[in-house]
């Protein structure tokens, strides 16, 4: 698949992210206003009127660009609403980058937000198309929990061994989130508590699942050559990839549920754009889509951070902990930062923004070279995966 690096590289020059959580006192308008004004305000001298175009990512909180223009009182601007399931935030960002790189616009914004807590359900409700009623109707944790027996059988492990790695991931992402003032869950949880929690699907408990949260995040993007007009510490984009699978895995007996080929594809495309040949050593830190703990486990292999079948060992050895060789989800991840769908991809970038600017407080990773953001939507066998590579060095 030809997917070239941007001919005109781009950079993020301003970002913001709201607190994530059960924000009963705020609606989606409030969240989008806070994130948008925050990102504009983070760029000295920039005013909203100087932003040429907007990409809004939201899955269930509104339709069309008007979801953003109405609360912001923006008029006469191109505003596009995008949706790609849980990768919606990354999709808003990716398309905004292309637009500014093309030269059509000079300053653009990607805004992502979601108001989930007004639905009143545990878990997500996916918008559904009328059908014949034969599509398997599984909850999201159930779909992802099917990774566990597949991974265990594939590598000759017991499900208990896989669960031990899952528990480590939940424990670490909770510990990281405890250090993050914007996170939904700011509490370390002992491994014994995590391991004992009652199941909601297969081997998964609530501790293995992302938080259902409200929140929004936004980025201001310009061409790299202009970045220093806005900030002395821009975050440069080195790779931008999206892979939408054929979504046939769940109907194809050749598919193994512990494979996420869309992640392999999107990461390899992004690595090629960024000139990365050995991600296990060249990536300094990663924000990945830990919607459920088994997802993060297999992502370590699909992204090339661990050899196949070895991810569980690397997880347990602390390789991906804060202070490990390749910190993963230093901000707490979907697990404890929370997962307001349309915002999550931009929230991951926001952690990169803080980390590369040295503003991550006691989560700070020392001297990062490349940061990776991986954001996905769907389920094993029917996935979209977006990968972005960022750095404080210009491409």
């Amino acid at each position: 698949m030809p997917a070239h690096a941007l001919r005109n590289p781009v950079a993020i020059v301003g970002m913001s992210c709201t607190r994530f959580g059960e924000l009963w006192d705020r609606n989606v308008d409030d969240l989008l206003v806070e994130a948008t004004l925050g990102a504009v305000g983070s760029v000295p001298g920039l005013e909203l009127g100087q932003v040429d175009a907007f990409w809004l990512g939201t899955m269930t909180s509104g339709v069309s660009g008007l979801t953003l223009t109405r609360p912001m009182n923006i008029a006469d601007r191109p505003v596009t609403r995008v949706e790609n399931m849980c990768a919606t935030g990354s999709e808003a960002f990716r398309n905004a980058c292309f637009a500014v790189s093309s030269g059509a616009y000079d300053v653009v914004m990607a805004v992502g937000g979601e108001k989930l807590k007004d639905f009143g359900f545990s878990g997500l409700e996916m918008p559904s198309v009328p059908g014949d009623g034969t599509s398997p109707n599984l909850s999201a944790p159930a779909m992802y929990s099917m990774i566990v027996p597949s991974y265990a059988r594939r590598y000759g492990l017991t499900e208990e061994q896989v669960k031990e790695a899952m528990t480590h991931i939940a424990w670490r992402n909770h510990a990281n989130g405890a250090r993050n003032p914007r996170a939904q869950f700011r509490k370390s949880v002992p491994k014994e508590v995590i391991a004992r929690a009652p199941a909601i699907a297969g081997r998964l408990s609530v501790f293995d699942s992302s938080g259902v949260a409200d929140g929004a995040a936004a980025a201001v993007i310009v061409r790299a050559e202009d970045a220093h007009k806005y900030t002395d510490r821009p975050l440069y984009v080195h790779g931008l990839a999206l892979s939408a699978g054929a979504a046939t895995g769940r109907n194809d007996d050749r598919y193994d549920y512990s494979d996420l080929p869309e992640v392999v594809n999107s990461s390899q495309v992004a690595y090629a754009q960024a000139g990365i040949t050995d991600p296990a050593t060249q990536i300094s830190m990663a924000e990945v889509h830990d919607c459920f703990t088994p997802t993060e486990l297999v992502l370590m292999e699909e992204l090339g951070f661990s050899p196949r079948g070895q991810g569980w060992k690397d997880v347990l050895a602390g390789r991906y902990d804060l202070g490990g060789a390749l910190p993963v989800n230093p901000d707490g991840g979907l697990k404890s930062f929370g997962h307001p769908v349309g915002a999550s991809g931009l929230r991951m970038l926001f952690e990169m923004w803080l980390q590369f600017r040295g503003e991550a407080g006691d989560r700070q990773v020392a001297n990062p070279a490349f940061g990776l953001v991986q954001n996905q939507g769907g389920s094993p066998g029917a996935l979209v995966s977006a990968v972005s590579i960022v750095s404080d060095r210009a491409p």
Binding site: F119, G120, F121, S122, G123, E125, S128, P130, G131, D132, G133, T134, P136, N137, L138, S139, P141, A142, S145, M146, I147, V148, P149, S150, R153, A199, I200, A201, G202, A246, T248, R250, N251, D252, D253, Y255, Y257
Partner: protein
Amino acid sequence: MTRKLTGITSYGVYVPFYRLNRGDIGTSLGLPGLTGARPVAGYDEDSTTLAVEAARRTLRRIPGFAPAELWFATSRPAYLERSNASAIAMALGLPEELAAYDAGGAIRSGAGAFRAALRAPAVVTLADLRYGLPGSEDELLGADAAAAFTTGENPVAELLGGASRTMELLDRWRTPGAIRTRTWEERFGVEEYLEVVQAVAEAAAKEAGLEPSEIDHVVISGPHTRAVREARRRFDPARLAAGLADDLGYAGTADFGVRLCAVLDRAEPGQSILAVLAADGADAFVFRATPELAAYRAQGAERPGGVLPLGYPDYLTWRGLLDREPPRRPEVKSPAPPASWRNMRWKFSFTAARCAACGIRNLPPRRICLGCGAVDQGEPVAMRDVRGTVATFTDDWLSESVQLPAKVVAVDFDGGGRFEFEMTDAPGREVAIGDRVAPVFRLASVASNDIRNYIWKVRPHEEES
């Protein structure tokens, strides 16, 4: 002139797997002395799915049979106004050139459907769910079950004669939608039923050229417990034994069929059979087992599977008699009738598409093959009787299924093709990769607009060795 033999050409019974101990009912309701267990249809079964399973078992034993008619009878129809027989016909994969009829409501409609089916090459399937208010006789002594027959030439049981009488006698009644069946006092009707049972037995035997006392096997079925008991007393117990052999309780509209099947499983070629349904009058049928019966039985029927214990609270919940707090999840969505209609051969007949270019099975059928990308190369392939293996699995506590956790399995079918299903008849089962499963026609859900979402699921399958 030689007379063409016609009658029953194949038969089959389906008894759902769940068993409710009457002692559990007694403990809950303070009724001492209850023993035994009754069969209960699963939370995802109704009279339509029960009828499908009995008919599948029947049709499997007569390969290549092309019925001209399908008759379905039950006292608990899943739908009114629209046909349930059409869903049954589609789930059986029968061609559209078929007349499919419901004969619903009355228990006696079972005899009517049976009688109609005996005129033509036909399949008749009788199904019922027996329940009422907690502690009722229908609950305590009832059985959920289904029985089916095919009819035509070269029968295993030749029809020799029949007779009917009709009475306008209100011994029991239920209005549409009601749970409870009401009855008049049990002594009312006994003598009247005895009279008509005797009358039809004599008339049918006479038509068959027999005396009632010559008949080898006698089945007497009916909802009036006391009258049926008295009617049976008039016959030699040895002749009644076969029809009572598999007794699991009174199966309503299906009961007459279930007992006739039990006799057919035991009768010797040449023996005569009198089957009587006593309801709102009486219907009698006299058959003679033919030499074909032995060979037919030798090819083997569906082996009875293991049974699943069911607690009284779950039984009450499944029957809508105990309104429990639902999980906090979105409301179940109904299938869209136009989509169900477009995809009827997939949704009801479980017909996949095998790609003529690469051989891969596409479940569901699709225009562009998921294996090779060939366009419009799919050829229909019936998956109803294809076994499969569990590729991976989970328990879903957030499912919209009635019974939590829902057992969800990805199934790889023998010969190719994968689909994800709720595994039914598997509460508390420890599922493992590699477990064997077989498809069954069940209900996924019933939406708030009363649309019943019929789909194919899988159930555990014990391999024949």
